[in-house]
Symmetry: C2
């Protein structure tokens, strides 16, 4: 009922002073006598004054707000990243505007534009699909933008970035399987994750080359179409059957979701993991530890990536120099991978 409308003007009137005195008093400006300050602060409380940060932002040219754009929030990976971002942001007194792009370049750009209009102090974009073509369009944005795991090869040079070494990650996965004696190793990827999939695929191939192991295009399965990462599980399900008949004894999966899908199909097909087939995931989401058997996987420090990206943004805002970051993934060995057994496929 009581339309909250109390402004510093109202307080000023009541206190018999000018609104600028109130403004100062409320922010404890020592120019105002202590007596006056406490009186006004008291009054403000009584009148249930709530500062209007919109007005404050307009004046100060700072919103204390940052924009975060992710492709989807009901994906544990991004949830963790956002978690890390929020942790650092709230410490610094910044609020977060969350936008979801659904892996759609247009929506991503629209979201960034919206954030720009809202005059956020900075922007964090995960899995960005922005490339050179849009660079110009975005060049006019004068707030810092940081890309987390950018999915474009031609990284827009206007961005700073935090990313994972995907190639290394895939190598770790392959080398792990090799160390277990596997020689016929497959890769199960997703087509729409431009850069990270390519890099992981490259890492997979590199590791095989280095080890002098055979490669076979039949051992690589990729889906091409859809955009929803949640469907990664079904992607894994579908693609596994293709690989299952090729005689591979170990499979590196694009990520944990895909690996889980593969795992589920194996259960259905009666393929025992890890006895018949070793599976390695990527990301290290919580889920990877809950399936049976728990997934051996290449972990990304998800929260840490969020924290670091946010910290980089804070540094940028403080006009400190920053350096782009490439983080290192690490392998966690669990139950889905094991020493290759005397090979049923070698017998023919």
């Amino acid at each position: 009922m009581s339309k909250q409308k109390v402004t510093i003007q109202d307080i000023a009137r009541k206190a018999g002073v000018s609104h600028s005195t109130v403004s100062r008093a409320l922010r404890d400006n020592p120019l105002i006598s202590l007596k006056m300050r406490t009186k006004i602060q008291q009054l403000a409380r009584e009148m249930k004054y709530t500062p209007n940060s919109v007005a404050r932002s307009l004046q100060n040219q700072r919103t204390h707000t940052i924009g975060v754009v992710v492709t989807s929030i009901d994906d544990p990976f991004f949830a963790e990243v956002v978690n890390g971002i929020e942790e650092q942001a709230s410490k610094a007194g910044l609020s977060i505007i969350l936008s979801i792009s659904h892996r759609d370049l247009e929506k991503e750009i629209a979201a960034i534009d919206n954030l720009h209009q809202r005059r956020v102090d900075g922007i964090l974009v995960a899995d960005s699909h922005i490339n050179r073509h849009q660079t110009k369009q975005l060049a006019r944005i004068d707030v810092p933008i940081i890309a987390i795991n950018s999915q474009t090869q031609e990284q827009a040079e206007i961005f700073n970035s935090v990313s994972i070494d995907d190639c290394l990650g895939a190598r770790l996965a392959v080398e792990h399987l090799i160390s277990l004696g596997h020689t016929r190793i497959g890769y199960l990827g997703v087509g729409d994750r431009s850069k990270s999939n390519q890099q992981r695929l490259a890492g997979y191939q590199l590791a095989l080359s280095v080890a002098g192991l055979p490669q076979n295009s039949d051992w690589i399965a990729l889906n091409n179409c859809d955009r929803t990462r949640i469907s990664d599980v079904s992607t894994g399900r579908q693609l596994l059957s293709q690989l299952a008949t090729t005689g591979v004894t170990g499979i590196v999966c694009y990520n944990d979701m895909v690996a889980v899908g593969a795992l589920l199909t194996c259960h259905e097909l009666g393929i025992s993991i890890p006895q018949d087939l070793s599976l390695v995931g990527f990301d290290g989401i919580a889920l990877s530890g809950y399936v049976t058997p728990p997934l051996t996987t290449v972990c990304q420090p998800m929260q840490e990536m969020g924290r670091l990206a946010m910290q980089m943004l804070l540094d940028l805002l403080a006009e400190k120099p920053v350096e782009n970051l490439v983080l290192l993934p690490y392998l966690v060995e669990r139950g889905s991978s094991a020493v290759v057994k005397s090979d049923r496929f070698f017998s023919f």
Copy 2:
């Protein structure tokens, strides 16, 4: 470099008109001649003008922003809810400020206060722990607040709400087990989820009473302390062992995370699910379908709850009348529950 500073004033000067003409032209006000309008819009594009929505908000007294407070974002349940909220919000052209309370009442209140200062148009709070004591404090907030699954018994009457019928959900779970022949049924809950846990516990007890089945305080295990929902899995792990020795043949779990924890411990203890023990979860998060065996669980329409809450907020903003919603959960039968076997525990 080019400090983005273009304002309607700048455009006005260049176009040789007044800034109000520009303001009108940019919003396609028919009062301005078509010729002038297109000329100005053209100019605006050339000058790379971006409207300042902070200024606009101050003038219009509307930020087109809503606040969303959740206890944690790396919890699939809230991720889904937020997903639903975002879907509706973005359709309506509203942006979302996301705050995380970490299940801490003080942080929750601080978050709401912050949102209030930012003059969001409305607030959505999930798992709110606010009670009568804070009601007064919040009464001065003149924007609509909607609680999703409020965790307080004395629902602050200043809120509207969307919630699930927890009691019914638990009854569905118990009745399912009863229909499978179970007579010794336990409950595995969490102490810090005030209302929902109590209601589910009540539903559990009610169902048993109605069926005339025995109840036993040893068949109920609750943790008391911690706040992090992520630890629900470890809660489930710990508590299961307590129940495992009591001779229950079926267990209703507070939620899927707890159920997964229980499941994992069963694996370790050599208790076969569902042969030795039936397990029923609650929530219906994606994970529940990925474990082995997949969980029978009571589903909440998570996204839908987000969508409906957001829609309710939109209605409120449009000054339409709204009614609080109590949604109905539904059972999904999967592999973790089965007909009770001729009971190993009856033999003594």
